[in-house]
């Protein structure tokens, strides 16, 4: 619920900030405050071990549940996340100027982060943990890169997300291994009952720790945290002190009860924690920027935290979580103080700050209290926690590890004291600017500005009190150590090993107190002799810079990517296709040879006629390959296609044969329409060598596919799904033609997808031709210009032979003789053919009628929407060929887009209609009535679906004709395309497309058949096929089928 509130708040935040300005931050702070308040209200239940649990199934198949659970550790984190979040938001309302850029986005992302963090610490599902983990990564990326116009900001954000995402992905692997090994993805169950040790568990632990290390910026990936200081200071205070970087600590603390006894876990935690502790402290002492001092200090403290919570004894765990709370308070407070100082003076360079403490006493007080807590002065929370930690380490008792770690922690704490003092002194003390801490070689920022201390102005109170509250809380918590112990002990008790520890303010004169005293003294000494110490630091070889290593490896990665790209992306289509095919040959061929055996018996053929059609298809295909002329290749392609149609028919697939014949016809016409524009010959072949390679690939692929064809039929082990189709088709689909019912009913969804493809392709064709419009104007006969005839571009060699009264324009007085077709007068006279016109006149309506017959009978006999649409398309083609583009406009005065849209709407709409009527989508309804006059009328709703298919196919053909036919004609006549060198056979432009099918290699001029009768007209051919096929398919009826043959004059 709270998460939803966070999400909603994140969504409205930009609007709110836009309206209220920066004051909106104060309002928004109520959201995380509510989170903290809720957790505090649950305190009693959590202490009793009865924290609230929430469970909502999300993706059951992934075992992904929205499981949330509030136990002691979650409670602590929730309070920290909510409390600090609320205070930082309040602080924001005074920190940014009202004119600051991107505040709305900032507020939204900030709240989204707070919500993700809350989800992360309360999630009780391993995968859910990962989801929130990555959400914090993404939101943190956006917050670090808040100043997107700054290079440093962008780079820091990129660095942070690369590193933390890498760790996050590793963590996902670890979580999945863990979940699979444990058999449950419930976090609490995994921890309570960890899977047995083994290589799997070790891998899981390694991956989990990788995630924690990257998130909490331990060595060797600590460098992203200081770089992330490019973020606005409130972000640093929240994400990089209190919340996000603690996620890694949280993860370690969460799994420590289960895995702390694992050697890999102990070594990783020990070494990396110690490393971060020391390195962070060491580097912090060299910084001059207050935020960088704190950032490296945070790295150091995070190392200590991971070390303490990861060691796995009850005492260290208690100290660890206590320090976790204390650190959140003092570090956030210190960042807020830094922000206030920055806002007041305009600089964070401690060499330029002087006398700030006197001008801002309360800010200095807050900073002082927080610093005291950080360096572990009594009586502050930091002291209590650190004291408990030292005490626990003293009694660790694990061979030499205990003393070594004690020394490391003591050294790290001494460094903490030193950089803590350095921070407070740098920020507030009165000192000579360009202090002694600036040896030669460092960029002397102070000197450059004339060594004047920065001006100090008084910032608003809003910048003070959140920091002060946090600092004072650090003091208050320490004064009631037993309360803290009460609250946190339940977590520590979940650890199996060690004695329970205690949080006390004064434990008497123990060895731990001695260590603390020693640490304080060393720290003060380090601070006192900071000048010599800095010189020493400079002399000590720094070793490899982690940041430089990171950049170098990223550079290598880029180089590798470029090399791989250069290797694989050759940019050549034949090479790509060749590679794909070779992989196919290699993979499928190997599987064929290794995994299958030849079928036991083969049939030479089903009927001998297959041999004839097969030979025709093969011979035509080989000739296509050898053809040098485009037109020859295309015509031979058509021959091959018709032969394949014959094979379909012999196979017992009349629907396929019908469709194939029609498609081949339309394809041929479309090809010819475009080939008018292309050079008549293919360009010169490439090198002979590559030709052999292509031949080799072709033959190899052919052999493999043939092999597949050989073994595929006998590879079947189950009964075909189509066995009951015949009955289903009749009972549910109400049709006898199983193929058609399959298309419009059983597999109707597929068909909807397929006609969508047609629609897209048709739109694509039109767009490629018209470029800026969906389609051109519809050419109507009465709008045709009188001065320019269609297809009249070429000279007319036979004009002298033509009778003058053939041109109606030359006989204005006489009544115009009726023409066979409406728009033929728009044609150039030499392009007209009376015979063709008469034939078309007779054919067109017959064809449309036949198409309707196919459409309506398709449910029970061969036919259907696809075939009917193609027949109408062919009829349109014939009209266009006979009468030009104006004739096409007269034949189909509609925009193809309307047809396509209406068709798809009908098809899909039928499905929705069935759903509205209470059935499933695309279910058919059979309406059966017996009308006395018409006999039995059986109307199946899927007929409407077929009508939709029909319209889409008609739209496709019309679109192609109007763009590749009519529009290309228009351009050729107006000369729009003619910018080239004329290599495109200008003579062919405007030539009669159908006549050009009269192909011969010696026939270089398509004008040879000017009076084009369209003799080898493929359309008539198509009619013949269709007609004969229809008779084959319907032998029992014997009714004459209207087709081209019967009506031909």
């Amino acid at each position: 619920m709270l998460l939803a509130v966070h999400l909603a708040a994140a969504l409205v935040a930009p609007a709110l900030v836009g309206r209220l300005g920066r004051r909106a931050f104060a309002l928004l702070s109520l959201v995380p405050a509510a989170g903290a308040a809720w957790a505090l209200a649950q305190t009693a239940r959590v202490r009793a071990g009865d924290g609230p649990v929430e469970l909502v199934a999300w993706v059951p198949s992934l075992h992904l549940e929205l499981a949330f659970r509030l136990d002691t550790l979650s409670w602590l984190m929730t309070v920290v996340v909510g409390g600090v979040g609320a205070l930082v938001l309040v602080y924001c309302s005074g920190y940014f100027t009202s004119s600051a850029s991107g505040l709305g986005r900032f507020a939204g992302v900030f709240l989204a982060f707070a919500g993700s963090m809350l989800g992360l610490v309360t999630a009780d599902d391993l995968l859910l943990v990962f989801v929130f983990w990555e959400l914090t990564t993404v939101t943190s990326y956006l917050l670090i890169g808040h100043y997107a116009d700054r290079k440093a900001s962008r780079r820091a954000a990129m660095q942070a997300i690369v590193i933390t995402t890498a760790g996050g992905l590793a963590m996902l692997v670890g979580l999945v291994i863990l979940g699979e090994q444990a058999g449950t993805y419930r976090l609490s169950e995994v921890v309570a009952d960890p899977p047995p040790a083994g290589p799997g568990l070790t891998a899981a632990i390694a991956c989990l720790l990788l995630g924690a290390v990257t998130k909490s910026a331990l060595v060797p990936v600590h460098f992203w945290l200081p770089a992330a200081m490019a973020a606005p200071t409130p972000v640093s205070a929240y994400l990089h002190a209190a919340a996000m970087v603690k996620a890694g600590v949280y993860l370690v603390a969460r799994f420590a009860p289960a895995f702390a006894s694992d050697p890999l876990w102990r070594w990783t935690v020990g070494v990396l924690g110690s490393g971060a502790l020391l390195l962070g402290g060491w580097r912090a002492l060299r910084q001059h920027d207050l935020k960088l001092v704190l950032a490296f200090g945070t790295v150091s403290q995070l190392g200590l935290l991971v070390l303490l919570v990861g060691l796995g004894t009850q005492a260290t765990a208690l100290a660890g979580v206590a320090l976790l709370g204390a650190h959140a308070m003092f570090k956030a407070s210190l960042f807020l103080v830094t922000g206030a100082v920055d806002a007041a003076t305009g600089t964070r360079d401690l060499r330029r700050l002087s006398g700030v403490g006197r001008r801002l006493p309360w800010t200095a007080l807050a900073g002082g209290l927080a610093t005291a807590s950080m360096i572990g002065l009594p009586p502050f929370a930091g002291y209590v926690a650190k004291e408990a930690g030292l005490e626990a380490l003293l009694h660790l008792g694990q061979g030499w590890a205990g003393p070594v770690l004690l020394v490391v922690v003591a050294a790290g704490s001494a460094l903490t004291v030193a950089y803590g003092l350095r921070f407070w002194w740098g920020a507030f003390a009165t000192k000579p600017v360009v202090a002694e801490g600036t040896p030669a070689g460092d960029p002397p920022a102070g000197r450059a500005t004339g060594a004047a201390p920065a001006d100090v102005s008084t910032p608003s109170l809003t910048l003070l009190w959140p920091a002060l509250v946090l600092a004072v809380l650090g003091l208050a918590a320490a004064l009631l150590p037993s309360l803290g112990e009460d609250l946190l002990a339940p977590y520590a008790a979940t650890l199996p090993a060690g004695e329970p520890g205690h949080l006390v303010l004064w434990a008497g004169l123990t060895p731990a107190l001695g260590v603390t005293a020693l640490v304080l003294a060393t720290g003060v000494a380090l601070f006192w002799w900071r000048g010599p110490f800095e010189v020493l630091q400079r002399r000590v070889s720094r070793g490899p810079d982690a940041d430089a290593v990171y950049r170098r490896s990223m550079r290598r990665l880029d180089d590798l990517a470029a090399d791989v790209t250069a290797l694989t992306q050759r940019g050549s289509l034949p090479v790509y296709l060749g590679l794909v095919l070779l992989v196919f040959v290699g993979g499928t061929g190997t599987a064929l040879v290794a995994g299958t055996s030849l079928p036991e018996r083969v049939r030479p053929w089903d009927t001998p006629a297959q041999l004839a059609f097969g030979a025709a298809a093969v011979v035509a295909a080989v000739l296509v390959v050898r053809a040098r002329r485009r037109l020859k290749a295309v015509v031979l392609l058509g021959v091959s296609g018709y032969a394949v149609a014959g094979l379909f028919l012999l196979h017992g697939a009349p629907d396929l044969a019908l469709t194939q014949v029609l498609v081949e016809t339309v394809t041929l016409v479309v090809f010819v329409l475009v080939l008018r524009r292309l050079p008549p010959y293919f360009s010169d072949r490439p090198l002979v060598a590559t030709r052999w390679v292509r031949l080799l690939i072709g033959v190899a692929t052919g052999l493999v596919v043939a092999g597949v064809a050989l073994v595929a039929p006998s590879a079947r082990v189950h009964a075909p799904v189509s066995e009951p189709f015949a009955e289903e088709a009749y009972e549910f689909g109400g049709g006898k033609n199983v193929v058609n019912v399959t298309l419009v009913d059983i597999r109707a969804w597929d068909t909807v997808g397929e006609i969508s493809v047609l629609l897209v392709a048709a739109t694509g064709v039109a767009s490629l031709v018209f470029l800026r419009r969906r389609s051109g104007q519809i050419f109507r006969a009465d709008e045709a210009p009188a001065d320019r005839a269609v297809w009249g571009g070429a000279p007319d060699p036979m004009a002298a032979l033509r009778r003058s009264d053939a041109r109606p324009a030359q006989a204005p007085g006489a009544p115009a003789r009726p023409e066979w077709l409406r728009a033929v007068r728009t044609l150039a006279p030499q392009r007209r053919s009376v015979i063709f016109e008469v034939v078309v006149r007779l054919l067109f309506h017959t064809m449309v009628l036949y198409a309707l017959f196919l459409l309506f009978s398709g449910h029970n006999a061969p036919g259907g929407g696809f075939a009917a649409g193609l027949v109408v398309g062919t009829a349109l083609v014939v009209r266009y060929l006979a009468g030009g583009r104006y004739e096409l406009g007269e034949a189909a005065p509609v925009q193809p887009g309307a047809l396509l849209g209406l068709g798809l709407f009908l098809s899909a709409g039928v499905g929705l209609g069935a759903m509205a009527a209470g059935g499933t989508v695309l279910q058919s309804w059979i309406l059966e009535t017996r009308l006395p006059l018409l006999g039995d009328v059986k109307l199946v709703t899927s007929l409407l679906f077929d009508v939709g298919v029909f319209l889409v196919v008609v739209g496709l053909v019309l679109d192609v004709l109007r763009s590749l036919g009519a529009e290309l004609d228009r351009r050729a006549e107006s000369g729009e395309d003619e910018v080239g060198d004329g290599s495109s056979a200008v003579g062919a432009i405007g030539s009669f497309p159908g006549a050009a099918a009269d192909d011969g290699d010696d026939d270089t001029s398509p004008r040879g058949s000017t009076e084009g009768t369209g003799t080898p007209d493929p359309d008539v051919d198509a009619r013949r096929h269709a007609g004969s096929h229809a008779q084959v398919a319907r032998p029992d009826r014997g009714e004459p089928v209207a087709s081209g043959e019967e009506v031909r004059p």
């Binding site: 290079k151 396929l656 475009v674 290309l968």
Partner: protein, 156 residues
């Protein structure tokens, strides 16, 4: 039950059509590529039919004489494939026309950008700048000194 032994004639036809189609597909002329695609399409349609078993009566209920019908499912699949091939052909032809309009030929050229990347990689030059990987440059402290939030200066 449909006879599931393969038909040698159809297998040979499929093999030859695929070989021819692939050979043309590897050409540079878009028209040839397209012709190859159509040949390949025909071959694959036949392959699907062959995989469905032997020939039979058309799958139409109530047709006489009765006998084993051919498998209707591959037929339904192939039918739509045929029509989609038509759409594909039209689209590729429109592209060929466009290519002619722009370049006066229909050859598929190499991708210039890919070649550039390959050339630069060969001489170990960078094809783009990536600030994340620039070595050296400015230090953390220098960058921090210039980074300031848009804050309000308080009253002096």
């Amino acid at each position: 039950m449909i006879d599931m032994s393969p038909n040698v004639v159809l297998v040979v036809v499929v093999g030859v059509l695929v070989a021819c189609g692939v050979y043309l597909l590897l050409e540079r002329s878009l028209t040839r590529v397209l012709v190859g695609t159509v040949l390949l399409g025909n071959a694959v349609n036949l392959l699907v039919l062959v995989a469905g078993g032997a020939a039979g009566r058309p799958p139409i209920t109530g047709l006489r004489p009765e006998g084993v019908t051919s498998d209707p499912l591959p037929q339904a699949m192939v039918l739509t494939a045929i029509v989609i091939t038509l759409a594909l052909t039209a689209f590729l032809l429109a592209m060929a026309y466009r290519s002619w309009q722009l370049h006066r030929h229909d050859e598929v050229q190499d991708d210039v950008e890919d070649r550039r990347i390959a050339r630069l990689a060969a001489i170990d030059e960078r094809a783009f700048t990536d600030t994340d990987t620039e070595a050296g440059g400015r230090t953390l402290a220098e960058e921090a000194a210039e980074t300031h939030d848009e804050t309000e200066r308080g009253q002096p």
